[in-house]
Structure formats: structure tokens, C-alpha cells
């Protein structure tokens, strides 16, 4: 720990960090564009310049050095005295802002970044209200630099964060700086567009409206968006994300800083892969089968009906004929509630863990590096909570099995009643499983889209997307991460946690946190959830 003095106040900070990071950690608002803690330091924007005390070369007396120093490039040192609160620093910030805006088109009304733009914020806080620029602005057309991203060159401040990202984090090197000096532009090599599995991060990194997401382009003004802290369900990495929604429509997902999991990044698959949540084909209400007909049920009667059917089945056929399949798309709390119910009516019931969707190979970044030096990893297990449901099943004890064993024994007629949870974004029911499922007399299916299984269901329950639920996922490394609800379930549906809560025999409103507290009494592990830092290490 080093003690340094910033603006006459002493702060303790970690060794080896820059003065800028120390000042930001101390809660100071120091303007900066090129600095990002996840990237190398270039000290090119000159906004974070500070004054520093140095010994006089002759008298060795400490005094303010006559020049300014880039705080992002100056490491902290015991006893260092610096200041940002001075006329020289403020003058520099003001002049820099004037330069940044020399060629800027000031097209905020049509710019997606407006509202979360650091040109706007810094102009307001550190700039001046007018420009002395009378010459013609140097205008450059926008560039379509890839299938998902647009580059508005004229809004660029040349912080080169995006270029450094492709060089240092994704390791794909698509972006470069062309030309020199005032003609600098960010560009790609023509014909080799920005198209890597992590490219969406360059849009987050861009402090201004230069790099924009085609998916979000002109969809929503950012000040209308409300955010919820969530966890990406795309793979078993479990990146901390933010869900931005307005009026129950999710417009975009952004990564949240979590040094234990994803640092500042997320992959495109997670970012753009959840369009299914607003698919009109989703199952949105509960259905009961009476004879051959399927009719819609109401949520009030449902817990009683389901419980009655299971109890009747157990009394006729025995509890060991009952099985429950826990989907790795479920939250831990929901899995726990479902087990609570099933073991309540049939203590001998088999608990199977559900189908694990996999796709491709594990991908480490920077591209081509190994697991040890990876800065980011996309995992082939395309579900968020395999570890979680396995933990819950293990803790519940009794007969447990994996999905393949379940399918084989179901095909052999081992079970006559089953509660099968799906919730996958795409059709997951294999032919063999569809055939095996036809043997169940009582089949409760909890799924998001119609498939071979839902057609057979005696009770069909709508599964909600993770943004409509709250709970926790356990990632590949065994970290338990809670996620919030961002939007309401579609009309007619009810969030899984709520109806499972009622079916399990509880009364009132489901709260993942309270259920987790109850779970923690049984398994201490559930008391130790991993929350991403409340205050991000970096504002933008």
C-alpha cells in the first residue's frame, strides 16, 4: 500500500497502479478517454494530465514541477504529492476538449451515444460552452466495418481503445489507425471486416458515438433505458451483464465488471443471442390436458391440480416411478423448490439433471492463447447452471442420475410420471427422448417453445426467460452468482419461481433471496454468493 496525496488529501492505494486509477478509486472524476484498466496505456488523449511535486534540481526543495504529467502513465509512489485541482490542469482539460471538438459534427440528436457520451459529459464538466473554430471541419464518411458494427469516423476522438482491444484482448487485429496526425482514422483492412466473437466490446469501449452497434442503432434513446444486474445464460462462463430494457422490451445487454469472471468483457453470442425472449411463438400460459384436448388453466388452481395429480399417481403406482428432470437453464432456487415439491409427494422420486446443450469448442482469447493466459473464455456448454442443478440434486440426495441415464431408463419404462424442465431457446428434444416421453402417464413439461414433449404434456407450464426471473446461477468454476429480474413475464405467464414456490407449498410472493437464505440453512455454499462489485472499477 502506498500513501499518496491527491489535492491535499491523503489516500492509500494499491502498489503498482497509476495515479489516475488511484484517483478514480478515490472517487474523483478525472476526465480520460484513452485510459482503460483492461488495456495497455498509451497516454495519448492528454485529458488526465496532473501537476506533481518534484525536488528542485539544485536546492532539492519540493515544489510543483513546471510541466504537467499524464496521470495514467505515472505509477503511484510512496509520498507522492499530485493535484488535479489547479488552474494549469483545468486549462489543459479545457484546451483538450476544444481540440476534441474541432472536427466533431455535433450531431447528438441523431447519435445513439447521446446520453452516455463522454464527449457530452466532459464538455459540460471540463470544456467551454463555445468553440473558436472558424475553419471548415474535416469531415469523413462513416464506415461499415463489419456485420455488426458501424464506425462514424467524424465522431472519433482517437483514443484507440478499440484498436488496442483487438490487439490485446481479442487478439484478432482487425482494427488499425490509418493516416497520420489530424487525418488519423480508425479503419479495417478492406475485405477483412471486424468480425470476431468478442467484437461487440469495442462499442462498449468507445467513449463517444464513433463505434455503434447495428443491432441497437436508432432503437432507443439511452435515457429511457432501465437496467437490471444479470448474469449471461449463454454459456457456463456466467459473465456479469446488465440488461437494458424499456417498457418490458430488452434492447441490449452490456457487460458488467467482475474481476472473478469476465473482467469488463462479454462475447457476441451472449450479447446478441437472446432475441428469443421476445419471440411471439413462446408458450405464454399454462395448459392442462383433459382427455385428448388441451385447455388453458388458470394460475390460481394450478398448484392444487398439479399436487393432486402427483399424489394420486404416487398412491396408484408408487413413488419410485416418479422422476424430475432439472434443466441447466433453471435457477438454483427454482430447482430447489421443484425438488422440495417432488420429494414431498414422492420421497423415492428420481432426480435427473437435464439436457446439456453444447456447441463448438472452448474459445480462449486473445485468439490462439491457452487457458492459463486467457483473458476471456467462451465455453462450449451453452447453459448457465449445470453446476448449480447438480449441486442441488446432490444435496437433495436419494436417487439421482444424469440426462442420458434418464432417457435410457425412461425408454425402458422405469418411470410413469415425470416433471421435465426445458427452457432452452431452441428445440432440444431428441427423437429417442420424444419416444421415451410418450410412455409417461403423467407428464409435466415446463418449457419455452412448443416441441415433441409439449405435445405430450398432461400439464404444460410456460418457462420464462432468465430476464423475467430472479435467482442464481452457478458457473463453471462453482461461483454462485445472483441475477435480478429485468422485465415482467409475458402476458398470461407467471415467473417460474413464483409458481414453483406455490406448488412447493409456500405462500406469498417468491423472492429468490429469501429462498436462497432458506437453502443456505441446508447447504452453507448458498450463503456465499458472488456479487459483482457494486461500484465498477471504471466508469466507462
Amino acid at each position: 500500500m502506498a500513501k499518496i496525496t491527491i489535492d491535499n488529501k491523503q489516500f492509500e492505494c494499491r502498489d503498482g497502479i497509476s495515479v489516475l486509477q488511484a484517483a478514480l478509486d478515490a472517487g474523483k472524476n478525472i476526465p480520460h478517454y484513452c485510459y482503460h484498466p483492461g488495456l495497455s496505456v498509451v497516454a495519448s488523449c492528454r485529458l488526465c494530465l496532473m501537476e506533481m511535486q518534484m525536488p528542485h534540481p539544485k536546492t532539492q526543495e519540493m515544489g510543483w514541477a513546471p510541466k504537467l504529467f499524464p496521470s495514467c502513465q505515472t505509477p503511484v509512489k510512496e509520498g507522492m504529492i499530485v493535484r488535479f485541482d489547479s488552474d494549469a490542469v483545468r486549462d489543459n482539460q479545457k484546451s483538450c476538449m476544444e481540440y476534441f471538438l474541432i472536427d466533431h459534427p455535433l450531431d447528438c440528436p441523431v447519435c445513439d451515444q447521446a446520453g452516455e457520451c463522454h464527449l457530452q459529459d466532459y464538455s459540460y464538466e471540463f470544456g467551454s460552452s463555445e468553440s473558436r473554430m472558424v475553419e471548415q471541419k474535416h469531415v469523413t464518411p462513416k464506415k461499415d466495418i463489419g456485420p455488426k458494427t458501424l464506425l462514424y469516423s467524424d465522431r472519433c476522438v482517437m483514443c484507440t481503445r478499440c484498436v488496442r482491444f483487438t490487439q490485446e484482448v481479442s487478439g484478432t487485429h482487425e482494427l488499425c489507425v490509418t493516416n497520420r496526425g489530424s487525418r488519423n482514422e480508425i479503419d479495417v483492412f478492406p475485405g477483412l471486416p471486424l468480425d470476431n466473437p468478442m467484437q461487440g466490446n469495442v462499442v462498449d469501449l468507445c467513449p463517444v458515438g464513433c463505434l455503434l452497434d447495428k443491432d441497437f442503432l436508432f432503437k432507443q434513446r439511452v435515457w429511457f433505458l432501465k437496467s437490471a444486474d444479470s448474469i449471461c445464460p449463454g454459456c457456463s462462463t456466467g459473465c456479469a451483464i446488465r440488461v437494458d430494457q424499456n417498457e418490458e422490451t430488452v434492447y441490449r445487454l452490456k457487460p458488467r465488471y467482475n474481476p472473478d469472471v469476465n473482467d469488463w468483457w462479454m462475447c457476441d453470442e451472449g450479447r446478441f443471442g437472446s432475441k428469443y425472449i421476445h419471440d411471439p411463438k413462446r408458450i405464454a400460459s399454462p395448459h392442462l390436458r383433459r382427455g385428448l384436448e388441451r385447455e388453458s388453466a388458470n394460475w390460481e388452481d394450478l398448484p392444487e391440480v398439479v399436487r393432486y395429480r402427483f399424489e394420486q399417481h404416487v398412491s396408484l403406482r408408487g413413488g419410485d416411478k416418479v422422476a424430475v428432470v432439472l434443466s441447466p437453464m433453471m435457477a438454483c432456487e427454482e430447482a430447489w423448490l421443484l425438488i422440495k415439491f417432488i420429494r414431498g409427494v414422492a420421497p423415492e422420486a428420481t432426480i435427473a439433471t437435464g439436457f446439456i446443450p453444447t456447441d463448438g469448442e472452448v474459445q480462449h482469447f486473445p485468439a490462439g492463447c491457452d487457458a492459463a493466459s486467457a483473458k476471456f473464455t467462451i465455453r462450449p456448454e451453452k447453459c448457465p447452471n449445470r453446476r448449480g442443478v447438480e449441486m442441488i440434486a446432490e444435496q437433495a440426495g436419494g436417487t439421482t442420475c444424469d440426462f442420458d441415464t434418464f432417457v435410457t431408463s425412461a425408454a425402458g419404462g422405469a418411470f410413469s410420471a415425470a416433471w421435465i424442465v426445458g427452457g432452452y431457446p431452441s428445440d432440444w428434444v431428441s427423437k429417442e427422448f420424444g419416444k421415451a416421453a410418450a410412455k409417461f402417464d403423467l407428464l409435466v413439461v415446463q418449457d419455452m417453445f412448443e416441441n415433441a414433449l409439449t405435445k405430450l404434456a398432461s400439464v404444460l407450464l410456460p418457462a420464462c426467460a432468465w430476464v423475467e426471473r430472479d435467482g442464481s446461477f452457478v458457473n463453471h468454476a462453482g461461483k454462485i452468482q445472483p441475477f435480478e429480474r429485468a422485465i415482467r413475464a409475458p402476458d398470461g405467464a407467471n415467473r417460474d419461481g413464483q409458481y414453483l414456490f406455490e406448488i412447493a407449498g409456500f405462500e406469498g410472493v417468491y423472492s429468490a433471496e429469501r429462498v436462497r437464505a432458506t437453502m443456505a440453512m441446508e447447504t452453507a455454499a448458498f450463503g456465499e454468493v458472488l456479487e459483482a462489485p457494486l461500484k465498477p472499477a471504471h466508469q466507462h
Partner: protein, 197 residues
Amino acid sequence: MSWQTIDRNVSPYAAGSEPVLSEGVREKIRSFFPRYDTKRAVLLPALHMVQDALGHVPYKAMAEIAEVLEIHPSDVLDTLTFYTHFWTHPKGEKVVMACRSISCELTGGREVLDAIKSHLGIGEHETTADGKYSLVTEECLAGCDHGPCMLINEKLHKCVKAADVPKLLDDAKNDRIEVPRSDLFDAPERSNSNQPS
């Protein structure tokens, strides 16, 4: 300008078209590898060699250089566009570079530039219809004490008067580059006499 979009998804050359770098040029580039710690470091010599061989460095050549040096083509583009010396499109036989910096400006550089323009009938960064001359301006030609300066095929002409421009441009002595840049890298190593043997 945001209503105009440059599409960067399309390649400027056809896929599978003939390579533009001859085996000789590639071999010469490779022969520089032992001089540096990394292959990337050979980028500048390679660009000079290619420009000498082809007259300019087209996109296809950049991609081929990248392949030889095992870097991404965007890294080649990055370095190449930093230097005004390198051309991405064909240039004329004689490249005329006029200084646009302050010392030459004060001593009449503007008149010299205007004289070149009117004599050749082209503007800055243009090439005459017959492909003989290309005109560019440069920031400084390092001859400030003898301004105004201009380069014709990399040969420095000092204290140029506007009236002399037609003669200098037509001068057959300026027809070829005397020492190609890529040859400069082949200069024999200077022996250090101070070093104890």
C-alpha cells in the same frame, strides 16, 4: 457525412487473383529476417522493396506482405498509411514533392507550387493524364535554409524559383531515382574504428 457509408466488407481485389509479389521480392523480404528480433520489424524494408518493385503498394500486395511477415494485413495498412512516402495507387514516372511547410512558404513556396500546378495542369495528389508526373506536397523536406524546396524523384532542389520550374520538371537528369530506398538497407556496415580490436 454520416449519410455516406464506405463499405469495408468488400475486398478491393478479387479473391484468388494472381499474386502481385514475385518470388524474388518475397525472397528479398525473407532475407531480412535474420537482421531483426521479429518478423514484424521487417515491415518497413518490405514496404520499400515492394514500392520499388511495383511503383506503389496495392492492397493485394499489403495482404501478401502480411502473409510473409505473419502479421494481420491491417497492421501493414496502419504503418503504410502513416508514411506519405508510400503509395497505395499507381503514381506517375516522376514524383514531384513540393514543400508546404513554413520556411518554404515564407520564401515563396506557394508560387513554386502554383507554377508546378499550372505547368502540369494537375492539382495536389494527382497524376497527369500521360502518367508522367505526380504531384504531392510534403510537410518538410529538411532544406529550410535553402527554401523554397522541392523533390523530383527524391532528388532535392533548393532555392527553386517559380520560373525555373518547367526546366527542372523536363530535365532528363530527374528521370530516375538514383538510389532506390530498398538499396539503402543494403549499405555496407560501417566499421567502428574506435572499437578496440
